[in-house]
Symmetry: C2
Subunit: 127 residues, 2 copies
């Protein structure tokens, strides 16, 4: 993996945006400072960073991929109203890969939990 200032910028921007942004959101954010950056570059680099375990790609929350600069095990909650993503601690359901192995014999290499609901802010503002 050769250095590029675009990749560095993308990674730093993701670290600043702790809100699990989508590619489009990250593009909007970066585009303000770097108007020449291409959307394809964001896609390419985020996928590359995810493949190398430097960031985490979160799929299955809604119909678009979100990215997370935190790589430690944890789960996610997405608000069906504002689409904001919240972290859910790993220890509410630890070692599920091992439990699946024990009960079914299947070897789990990765897994994700997508929790859905209405977040506290939206719950208040909807009333």
């Amino acid at each position: 993996m050769k250095y590029s200032k675009q990749r560095e910028l993308i990674l730093n921007s993701l670290k600043e945006n702790c809100s699990h942004p989508t590619v489009e959101q990250l593009y909007e954010f970066i585009h303000k400072d770097q108007p020449t950056i291409s959307l394809a570059t964001i896609y390419r680099n985020l996928n590359q960073l995810a493949e190398n375990g430097i960031v985490k790609k979160i799929e299955g929350l809604d119909n678009t991929a979100h990215f997370d600069h935190q790589t430690h095990d944890h789960y996610h909650f997405i608000c069906k109203h504002c689409h904001q993503v919240f972290d859910i601690p790993y220890d509410i359901a630890p070692d599920l890969d091992q439990k699946v192995k024990n009960t079914t014999g299947l070897n789990v290499t990765s897994y994700d939990i997508a929790f859905r609901g209405i977040c506290k802010n939206c719950q208040n503002s909807i009333n």
Copy 2:
């Protein structure tokens, strides 16, 4: 919801295909007997059936939706090699919505777990 023979056919076909088919797979299957059926009809009806709780829509396994004629709580494992989907019993991680509520205060209305790995058949055949 008004009756239609297409919807009945789609639901019956899903019940016969216990393999968590995608829309495309179900279309191929039905198209053999009913060559005039439209792909849009399959999409429309599966979504409608899912909204009414008659079938279950599984998202987040890969980049396409799968459908399940079983509506009771359970999780899924998708093989990264053959893309077949397997059921994982609910009791390996029960009441996660309640646990999330207790630890974070968030109200979970639905959640899914996507387990990924290589299934036993593929594990053998790859060697």
